[in-house]
Amino acid sequence: MSNKVLHAVYDDDDTLLHAVKEVRAEHYHIEEVFTPFPVHGLDKAMGLEPTRIAIMAFIYGCIGLSVAVLMMNFIMIEDWPQDIGGKPSFSYIENMPAFVPIMFEMTVFFAAHLMVITFYLRSKLWPFKEAENPIPATTDDKFLMEVAVGDDQKKLTALLKKTGAIDITVQEKQE
């Protein structure tokens, strides 16, 4: 087995989606697909595992909620109780309605920010990182499918041609 991969370039997301399905039906291994925008249904077509970020979002939300509760309990009840609108801050539960907006906002804040950070870590993205897409056009209007070359390069090339690829190049993949 060589480390060779084929880069097939497409210029339409529907064509790409069908191509992915056909290539997978022929039991070729698709290494990666580069697209300028999220293509609906592509993850399913590529057979990627469903994302687990929703579970993390729930956990992060729970953390945010707990932080808000502890924070407001410390600030408003323990550290510096005040009498606001005739409602002295003696107990958390009795003043709870006033803290609900904060609890809500902190839940959303934690869930959103930590989710983005998790996504960056998981996708190995950081500032000044060198782009991984093989051709810059995949950030503009082209779609690129990277397929591992099996035993028969000619057959694969023919298949990719048939699926509507506008350009096919062979690349040595360096690990």
């Binding site: 609906h40 609108g85 006033a98 609900v100 907006p101």
Partner: protein, 438 residues
């Protein structure tokens, strides 16, 4: 074409008969004079429950008797007990009318937005809105009966009360029986006119080439939505908020709208799943159920947002006129008031949060039933505290009202469904809807 199964028809009739019996019992057992009313309350306390709440009210009653027990208190008690079957009837009538109206608003939004995912569900929605006409007429009749002083649901309708109440006197130019009924006729006529025309155009679209009726439907739907949001808001003041004539809340119309909207969508989802299980609606699949469940989830959260916004502002500002509304509910209606939050918010939030669960039909059914019951309790909490006060209970007349209108609703809705093919085959978006992936 859908055929109304014998079993379901029988079931709906059984519910109606049971419900009618329960309501009749409720009306017959209501006290007719002050002595009977006092005897009923004394009986209830005399049973000697170990319940703490009972003990407290007992002591309060004792206290009142010692304090001389003025006769207006007894009169008040009599009115509350006499109101109870009426209020039970009114709550149930209002709730099912709101389901139909909420579904109509949802339908109009689909039409006005020219939604691509929902046309396979149009006939189900039209079936649910089929209840709008009987539902609104029943509520109207109840309002007329209140206007004729057959009950005391609306205290401002009683000239005796108004004579001693400056706050209501200031509102008489709006809150008077003829004007209330005139407004009701206006709302009801407008809603039913839209429902009639959009149904007619929807059926006509199946038979013609081109999209002329689709366009007509689009136009009247956009117009209806403008009409609806004004009239719905005013309806909520007239038919619901005015039972507490001293109290006011500026976002009450929105709050009631959220309640009816989520109830309507839930009813659509439940009926869709039922029809699907019976082998109809071949073109409806999990993607459509998923979208309906997303709406159920989202509008449940939206309802909670409005509930809390209304609650927190009033709680924080603590203005006596406003805050009594919640004081009554928290002291006398603790269980239904907070129970409703669990049913309408916590439960759907946890059950429907996961994307996969929204595709599991029995999960949606379970969440849907709890949401519908929760919003019945919501309407109950809107009407009961002002009409029966602390004499509330969930007894024969309440269950009777709920059963009767459930039966009537099922009968009318499924009867409407038999009137036309279950697929709006002429809709220009039917193909898109069929291929829809969430």
């Amino acid at each position: 074409m859908y055929t109304f199964s014998k079993k379901l028809k029988l079931f709906s009739f059984a519910l109606m008969i049971l419900g009618a019996l329960g309501l009749t019992y409720g009306f017959l057992s209501a006290p007719s004079n002050v002595e009977e009313a006092k005897a009923m309350v004394a009986d209830a306390h005399g049973d000697g429950h170990g319940d703490i709440h009972e003990e407290i009210t007992h002591h309060e009653a004792d206290h009142h008797e010692e304090a001389g027990h003025d006769s207006s208190h007894d009169e008040h008690l009599l009115h509350q007990l006499q109101n109870k079957p009426w209020a039970a009837l009114y709550v149930a009538a209002l709730f099912f009318m709101m389901i139909a109206l909420g579904a109509l608003a949802f339908y109009a939004i689909q039409r006005a937005a020219q939604a691509g995912w929902s046309p396979v569900l149009y006939r189900v929605m039209e079936g649910v809105t089929g209840y709008l006409f009987p539902g609104t007429v029943i509520v109207f009749v109840l309002l007329v009966l209140s206007g004729l002083h057959l009950n005391h649901l609306f205290v401002w309708m009683d000239p005796e009360v108004v004579a001693h109440d400056e706050l209501i006197q200031g509102k008489v130019s709006y809150l008077n029986v003829p004007f209330l009924l005139a407004r009701a006729v206006f709302y009801i006529a407008g809603w039913n006119l839209y429902r009639y025309l959009s149904r007619k155009y929807s059926l006509a679209q199946d038979a013609v080439q081109g999209i002329s009726f689709h366009k007509k439907n689009f136009r009247i739907s956009a117009g209806f939505l403008v009409f609806f949001i004004y009239t719905e808001s005013m309806m909520s003041w007239d038919w619901i908020m005015s039972v507490d004539p001293h109290w006011f809340s500026t976002l009450f119309g929105w709050y009631v709208f959220a309640s009816m909207f989520v109830s309507g969508i839930t009813a659509i989802a439940l009926i869709t799943i039922y029809l699907k299980a019976k082998g109809y609606l071949e073109k409806v699949n999990d993607n459509h159920i998923h979208d309906l469940a997303k709406f159920m989830f989202a509008i449940s959260v939206f309802w909670t947002y409005l509930w809390f916004s209304q609650f927190m502002l009033i709680w924080y500002s603590n203005i006596p006129e406003e805050v009594t509304y919640f004081v009554t509910r928290i002291e006398d209606y603790n269980l239904p008031f907070f129970g409703m939050l669990i049913m309408n918010f916590i439960f759907p939030l946890l059950i429907l949060m996961n994307s996969d669960y929204k595709r599991v039909n029995w999960f949606v059914v379970m969440a849907g039933i709890v949401i519908l019951l929760g919003h019945y309790v919501d309407v109950y909490n809107m009407i009961m505290p002002a009409t029966v006060g602390d004499q509330w209970s969930f007894g024969v007349s309440e269950i009777g009202g709920l059963l009767f209108f459930t039966g009537l609703f099922i009968y009318v809705v499924f009867n409407t469904l038999t009137k036309a093919p279950l697929e709006a085959s002429g809709d220009p978006f039917i193909g898109e809807s069929e291929r829809f992936v969430y």
